[in-house]
């Protein structure tokens, strides 16, 4: 692969290098990234300190222009997104404790990574989540109650992925990174000016499918952003059990850029994801974003983090809370007053109540749903077993 100059990676937002339709996106087009340019990738992109102060430094200089248009109102919007998402997540955790949900995978602590990246997307972009992307779903306009069906046990997904360009939650770790890559290959074939984003975690990065997704997206120069939320723990396994080099550096070996961003900084996540999506839309191929963050709760409601991690560690991350950080910034800059926070509190409580009531009212599926949608074109065995089971059920009714 030829080594291109570092200029190849500079953002060119208005340079008009929009992807040409169809054949211009030749399958074997080499990726623009090179080892040389990747050496310059900063360690951690941050725009807001944990104390809420704006940062301007060499590390974020390339990305800061991507949020230059963000107004105070936009910041309040991002804050609202994070508060609403945390409230929803807390309600779901409570519902699990009350026996209304069989399981819940909490995103507590990861609101900035999800809202920052989620708000970077255009409507026509397509999202492939894992099973914890409640904040991204919020950004896509997916009804939060839709996310709870699978955790309540009434379906395995249940929403129409094409309604909000938000694919079903995927339980098998890392599988969806290949689906995202294939979808992005299709986007490129269509000559579309949109991008695809695949979410996964630090544990999933150990899976072969993720490596294969990197390979395919690199050789086909596909418009996909791999957004890894490194929340430090894969159930009880720490990142040391997943990797020996920083995750974002892995992209270098596949021939595309990797960036590590402060995952608790919503502004930095927005900037870096916009930058990566922009590259994708301009036909410059995939990017790996490692959002360095922390899962404050358990992996799911089934595990007990006190068995595998120290309180001091959790406490240290509490000081980096993504919501408190933006609140401090809004207060210090006069971007929001107490009335805003009070109103938002009331709004989030109302949403929590609505979710609670909706879940409790959620009906169990009809028994015969077992046989629905197994095949699009039908299948003789399914038809036979459906008829047999229906007759069996009917025999009880006749008996009474």
């Amino acid at each position: 692969m030829t080594v291109e100059s570092t200029a190849a990676r500079k953002p060119r937002r208005s340079s008009g290098t929009k992807r040409a339709a169809g054949a211009a996106n030749a399958a074997a087009k080499p990726a623009a990234a090179t080892a040389q340019t990747l050496d310059a990738v900063p360690q951690l992109v941050q725009l807001l300190t944990p104390e809420g102060d704006r940062v301007d430094n060499a590390e974020n200089a390339e990305f800061a222009p991507f949020v230059a248009d963000i107004t105070t109102e936009d910041l309040r919007g991002l804050y609202r997104d994070m508060v609403m998402t945390r409230r929803f997540d807390g309600e779901a955790t409570a519902l699990q404790r009350q026996g209304e949900l069989g399981l819940w995978a909490s995103l507590l602590g990861q609101e900035a990574a999800q809202i920052g990246s989620g708000r970077a997307l255009n409507d026509e972009d397509y999202v492939f989540p894992t099973y914890r992307e409640h904040g991204v779903a919020w950004c896509r306009g997916v009804d939060p109650t839709n996310l709870l069906g699978m955790f309540r046990g009434v379906n395995h997904g249940g929403w129409d992925p094409n309604l909000n360009n938000f694919h079903l939650y995927t339980i098998v770790i890392g599988s969806q990174t290949l689906h995202a890559t294939g979808y992005a290959m299709g986007v490129a074939k269509d000559g579309a000016d949109s991008a695809v984003i695949a979410y996964f975690g630090d544990g999933a990065s150990s899976q072969g499918d993720v490596a294969e997704a990197f390979t395919f997206s690199a050789v086909y120069n596909s418009p996909v952003v791999f957004f890894c939320q490194n929340n430090q723990w894969a159930i009880s396994e720490p990142t040391e059990r997943q990797m020996r080099v920083p995750l974002y550096q892995r992209a270098q070996g596949f021939g595309f850029p990797g960036v590590r961003v402060d995952g608790n900084d919503v502004l930095a996540c927005l900037a870096v994801t916009r930058w990566a999506l922009d590259r994708a839309r301009r036909g410059e191929g995939p990017t790996l974003v490692e959002a360095f963050t922390y899962r404050m709760g358990a992996h799911t409601t089934s595990d007990d983090p006190t068995k595998y991690r120290r309180d001091e560690e959790t406490a240290a991350w509490e000081a980096k809370d993504p919501i408190l950080r933006l609140k401090a910034h809004l207060l210090a800059t006069g971007g929001a007053d107490e009335a805003f926070f009070t109103e938002l509190e009331a709004e989030s409580e109302a949403m929590g109540k609505r979710v609670r009531e909706a879940v409790r009212a959620m009906p169990d599926p009809d028994t015969m749903a077992i046989f629905e949608n197994v095949y699009a074109d039908g299948h003789a065995l399914v038809d036979e077993e459906r008829a047999q089971f229906a007759a069996y059920l009917a025999s009880f009714e006749e008996g009474h």
């Binding site: 399958a27 694919h167 995927t170 599988s175 294939g182 299709g186 072969g208 390979t215 699009a376």
Partner: protein, 326 residues
């Protein structure tokens, strides 16, 4: 050229060509399918005529091939992927079973998965290990997948067309030792249903049910049995999911005896399912238990032993005799 005599390999090639011509959303993907035309040349010349965007050489990564095909299907494409050999499908097994097979159900029917996975399968070509296996039962066992295998050139042409047109994922097993067998293909014919069994030879004393590479062996066995005055019916099942139990039942009600033949290991194979179902359906018609002829519960042997391992004429005829002896 309404009717033409050609090999199974050529019929598959013509079928793919027609699919590419008819629908711009059809894509061919796999290792070496482009310039080389596939290791068995099934995709020969297709990249030359349809370009690298339609006939796509992929990295050597089977999970990646199937996983990206799923994504392309979600985008509205109809990928036909080639797994180079049967034993190489297992790195992709996870994507096929946990994702491809279930996507339609998980989305409550809102998305379709029109993906065809072509797999040259079974033995008889003197290959090294992982190149001669018959894993069809592993796929037929999975709800959401359809599994078929042609035994002749006409079926190769038409069944592949039908598989590509299907909105369900189809695992398309190609009997690689029959690739060079020739037969007539009627390009203007109205093909039979994809999942319907066909009577390949009429008979009245015993039914031999087979699919893919074993149909030819069963036809030869029926011809040999005829010389001994036995009338053997040969049923080409064509589909392993769904299985045409009605078709088998009709034959068994006529002959009252059934022998199922396949190359795959007998234990928990397609033949086991057929034996159980037909016993349920035809208990009072059967004059003998349903017998099975197939592979052993052992890894597919090295090439010098495959003639012993593969069910041949004698083993099939022995089973016919045992059935008739009841």
């Amino acid at each position: 050229m309404a009717v033409e005599k050609m090999s199974i390999a050529k019929a598959l090639n013509e079928s793919l060509r027609k699919a590419l011509e008819q629908d711009p959303k059809v894509l061919i993907m796999g290792e070496d399918v482009g310039k080389l035309g596939g290791v068995f040349r099934i995709t020969d010349g297709l990249q030359k005529d349809f370009g690298e965007e339609r006939v796509i050489d992929t990295p050597l990564a089977e999970s990646g091939i199937v996983g990206t095909a799923i994504g392309l299907a979600l985008r509205g494409y109809r990928p036909v992927v080639e797994i180079q050999f049967d034993g190489f499908v297992f790195p992709a097994y996870d994507q096929i079973v946990t994702q491809l097979a279930k996507m339609h159900a998980r989305a409550l029917g809102k998305v379709k998965m029109p993906v065809v996975v072509r797999i040259p399968y079974a033995g008889g070509i003197g290959a090294v290990e992982h190149h001669s296996e018959s894993p069809e039962a592993l796929f037929a066992h999975v709800p959401g997948l359809k599994v078929v295998s042609p035994s002749n050139a006409s079926d190769a042409y038409w069944m592949l067309q039908q598989a590509i047109l299907s909105d369900d994922p189809v695992i398309f097993f190609e009997p690689k030792r029959r690739y060079w067998d020739k037969g007539e293909v009627d390009f203007d014919a109205i093909p039979g249903e994809l999942h319907k069994a066909r009577v390949s030879r009429e008979g009245s004393d015993v039914t031999l049910a087979a699919y893919g590479p074993m149909v030819k062996v069963c036809l030869e066995a029926a011809a040999a049995a005829a010389e001994e005055g036995k009338s053997v019916e040969v049923l080409d099942l064509r589909s392993m999911s769904p299985v045409d139990f009605d078709g088998i039942q009709a034959s068994v009600e006529k002959t009252r005896r059934l022998v199922v033949v396949h190359e795959a290991p007998v234990f928990l194979g397609v033949g086991a399912e057929i034996a159980a179902r037909i016993t349920e359906r035809c208990f009072y018609h059967l004059e003998a238990p349903v017998l099975r002829v197939g592979g052993f519960h052992a890894p597919y042997p090295p090439a010098r032993l495959e003639d012993e391992y593969l069910p041949g004429l004698d083993r099939v005829l022995d089973a016919v005799d045992r059935s008739l002896a009841y």
